[in-house]
C-alpha cells in the first residue's frame, strides 16, 4: 500500500463516453488516451478496472455538456497494483484514513472479534439459505438479500448498546439478525408462518421486534427516516441515554423524507446516527443517475452535522465510525451521517438478475468480501486460529439449518387472526 496524489484529465467524447487523457501519480503512470466507457453509462471506474468504487465518484465525468475537459486531483491510496481481474491497476480514495479501523482491531479482544465474524457469517449463511428456499418456492413475494453488505449492519450494531434502537429498510434481514433476533423467527417470517417475528403478517420486508429495539424494516424507500427522528425525540423527552441507529440506502436520499428528517434531527440535536448504505444502485439506477451529489456523506454539511464516508466492506471501519457517532449522539451533540460504501452481491431482489452491472464489476467487489477480509485480518494478526473460524462457520451453518427446519415445521397463521391486529383490542 502506498499513497499518492494523482492528476486525472478527462475529455468528453460524446454524451456518455469520455477519454482519459492523462493519469499520473507518484507510483503509477498511465498515459492516455484510453477510452473510458465503451458501453453507455458505464463508469470510468469499470473501464479502468479500478478496484475501489469510491474512486468512481472522483472519476465520473460531469453530466454538464458544456464541460469538455476536466482535470481532477485526487488523493489515492494504492491498494494493489496489477490485481488479477481488475484490469491493470487499482487504487482507493477514501476520505478517511484507516487508522480508526486499525485502532479498533487493536483494542478489541478476541471474543469481540470472533463475535463480529460469527455475526457476519450467520447473516451470510441465512441469506444463502433464504435464496435456496426462495428457489424452492418455500419463500414467496418480494425478497431482498443483504449478502455482501454484512459489515455495515454488524459493525454498526456492534458499536451500540443493546438498549439502543435500530431502524431499517426492506433489505433488513441482516440488521434484524445483528440486533439479536433469532434466525428461527426471522426465517419463519420469511416463510409467512405464525411463529414469525411479525406472526407471518409482514414477511421479508416488515420484520419488527420492540423488545430487541429493532424498530422495523420499511418497504417504502425512506419511510423509516422520520420515525428515527420520532424515536430520538422520545428519547430526549424522557431524558434517556439511548441512541437511534437509522439505516437507509442510497436510493432514499432523493426522498423528501431524508431532507426533512436530517434538518429536524440537526435542529433539535436528536440522538440519531444516520447510516447510508451506499451500494451504488437504487434497484437498477446508478447513484450518479439519481443524485446530484455523488459523495453522499456531503449531505451532512448543509444540515450542519458531521459526515464521514467509511469502507462498508470493512467491519472495523464501520464499527469505529459508529462508535464515534453514537458517543456524540449520547452526549447530546446531535446526529451524524455516515456513508458506508458497500456492495450487494446479488440483484436488488430475488427476481433481479442485475443485468445493469458487469460480471467483472461484481467479481472485483467479491474480492472485497467483508467476511473474507476479516478472516484474513484475524489470521494475519494471529488473533485466532483457522480452526476456530472454521468451527464458527460450522456452528452457524447448523443454526441456520435449524432455523429452516423450525420455519418449515411451524404452522400457518390462523385465519381467524386476520382481523385481530388491525386495532388495539381493549
Amino acid at each position: 500500500m502506498g499513497s499518492c496524489t494523482a492528476q486525472i484529465v478527462l475529455k468528453r467524447a460524446s454524451s456518455n463516453r469520455a477519454l482519459l487523457l492523462y493519469f499520473a501519480g507518484n507510483d503509477v503512470l498511465k498515459p492516455g488516451p484510453v477510452e473510458l466507457a465503451a458501453q453507455p453509462r458505464a463508469s470510468p471506474c469499470q473501464a479502468l478496472g479500478i478496484r475501489w468504487a469510491s474512486c468512481l465518484y472522483f472519476l465520473k465525468f460531469p453530466q454538464s455538456p458544456l464541460l469538455t475537459y476536466v482535470s481532477i486531483l485526487v488523493n489515492v491510496v494504492i491498494e494493489s497494483l496489477a490485481l488479477p481481474g481488475a484490469g491493470g491497476f487499482a487504487f482507493m480514495a477514501l476520505e478517511r484514513d484507516k487508522h480508526i479501523a486499525e485502532r479498533a482491531l487493536l483494542t478489541m479482544d478476541e471474543a469481540q472479534l470472533l463475535a463480529l465474524y460469527r455475526s457476519m457469517s450467520l447473516i451470510r449463511r441465512f441469506e444463502e439459505k433464504t435464496a435456496e428456499m426462495y428457489a424452492r418456492g418455500k419463500i414467496t413475494g418480494f425478497c431482498h438479500l443483504y449478502a455482501g453488505e454484512e459489515a455495515v449492519a454488524v459493525g454498526a450494531i456492534a458499536a451500540l448498546y443493546d438498549k439502543d434502537y435500530v431502524v431499517s429498510t426492506y433489505r433488513e434481514h441482516g440488521h434484524c439478525l445483528a440486533k439479536g433476533a433469532s434466525p428461527r423467527v426471522v426465517m419463519a417470517e420469511l416463510f409467512g408462518k405464525a411463529t414469525g417475528i411479525s406472526r407471518g403478517h409482514g414477511g421479508s420486508m416488515h420484520l419488527f421486534d420492540a423488545n430487541l429495539r429493532f424498530m422495523g424494516g420499511y418497504a417504502i424507500v425512506g419511510g423509516g427516516l422520520p420515525l428515527a427522528a420520532g424515536l430520538g425525540l422520545s428519547i430526549l423527552y424522557k431524558e434517556e441515554p439511548e441512541v437511534v441507529c437509522c439505516f437507509f440506502g442510497d436510493g432514499a436520499l432523493p426522498q423528501g423524507a431524508f431532507h426533512e428528517t436530517l434538518n429536524l434531527a440537526s435542529l433539535w440535536k436528536l440522538p440519531v446516527v444516520f447510516i447510508c448504505e451506499n451500494n451504488f444502485y437504487g434497484m437498477g439506477t446508478l447513484v450518479q443517475n439519481a443524485i446530484c451529489q455523488e459523495e453522499l456523506y456531503r449531505f451532512a454539511e448543509p444540515y450542519k452535522m458531521p459526515g464521514v464516508r467509511v469502507d462498508g466492506m470493512d467491519v472495523l471501519d464501520v464499527y469505529g465510525a459508529v462508535t464515534e457517532a453514537a458517543a456524540r449522539a449520547r452526549e447530546g451533540d446531535g446526529p451524524s451521517l455516515i456513508e458506508a460504501v458497500t456492495y450487494r452481491f446479488r440483484g436488488h431482489s430475488m427476481s433481479d438478475p442485475a443485468e445493469y452491472r458487469s460480471r467483472r464489476e461484481e467479481r472485483i467487489w467479491q474480492e472485497r468480501d467483508p467476511i473474507k477480509a476479516l478472516r484474513r485480518k484475524i489470521l494475519h494478526d494471529r488473533r485466532a486460529t483457522e480452526n476456530q473460524l472454521n468451527e464458527i462457520e460450522a456452528e452457524v451453518a447448523a443454526v441456520i439449518d435449524d432455523a429452516v427446519k423450525f420455519a418449515e415445521e411451524s404452522p400457518e397463521p390462523a385465519l381467524e387472526e386476520l382481523g385481530k391486529h388491525v386495532y388495539v383490542e381493549e
Binding site: G141, S198, G419
Partner: protein, 326 residues
Amino acid sequence: MEVTYLTAINQALHEEMRRDESVFIMGEDVAELGGAFKVTEGLLDAFGENRVIDMPISESLIVGAGIGAAILGMRPVVEMQFSDFIACAFDQIVNTAATLRYRHGGRAACPLVIRSPSGAGVHGALFHSQNPEAWFTRVPGLKVVAPATPYDAKGLLKSAIRDGNPVLYFEHKRLYRSIKEDLPEGDFTVPIGVAELRQSGKDLSIITYGGTLNQCLDAARIVEKEDGLSVEVLDLRTLLPLDREAILATARKTGKVLIVHEDRVTGGIGGEVAAIIAENAFDSLDAPIRRVGAADTHLAFSPPMEEFILPNSNKIVEAIRSLAAY
C-alpha cells in the same frame, strides 16, 4: 396478434410516443431497467434518454415535475413503481394536479397520466399489494381508469394520454402476464367513462372492474353450468367518472346486483355504485345489493392469509347463489 396485458400497455406507450412528440415517460427504473415489471422495456432504445427518463426515488417529485411539464403542453406519462408508493405523491395528485385547471379559472390544463401497478395476489405484503383507486375517486378534476383486458389496457392508456386532464391509470400487476388477447392492427382507443357489458344475462348482474373481472366471468360460467343461472357482467373500466347509465341499465334489467372488486369492501367503489342504484333504481330491485371485496384488514404476507382476504371465483359463486335465491 395475441398479446399479453403487459405488452398491450407497452404497445400503447410506443405508439403514443411515435404519434406525439410531447409524450414522454418518467419514473423509477423505467429507462435502463425497463421498469420493475418490464412494462417500459424497449422504450429507451426506441426514443432515447430525453423521452424515457429514470427518476430518483422521489414520488412526490415525479408527479410534481410531471404536472409542471404538463402545464407547458407536454404529455408526461409518469410511473409509480407500485401503486402503494402513490401515497408519497398524494399531495401533488389531489391538491396540485386535481385542482390545477379549476383554481386557474380554466386557463391551464394538466394532461398528465400516472400509471401504477396495483393489486394483490403476488405475496407482495402490505406495501406492494394495495388497490388505492378509491382514495382518488372522490377527487374532482381527476379521472381514474382500471383496465381488465389487454384491449382495454391499450385503448384506455391511449385515451388517457390524449386526455387533457390528469388520469390515474391503475394496471393490475397479476394480469400482466396471465391474460392474453388478440388485438386489432392499427390505432384504436377505448373511451374514458364508458363501461363495457362483458356478458349479457337475465337473472342477476355483476358489476366489477380490473383484477376481478375474470373471476366474475369464471363464476358466471360455473353457475350457468351448475345452477342454470344467467348472469350479466358489467366491467366498469373507468372508476371516475362512473358510467351511471350502464350501471342503472343493468340494475333495472335484472333487478339483482352483486358488486365485486379486489379493493376492500368498506369505502370501496362498490359503496358508491350501490348508492347510485339505490337512489335511482330502487323500484327495480328484487333483492338487497350485495358486495364482495377484500376483507377489511391489511394485506397480510402469509400466502394462506392473503388468499383468505381476497375475493375469488368461489366466493363470487357463493354470493351469486345466495343472491339468486333471495
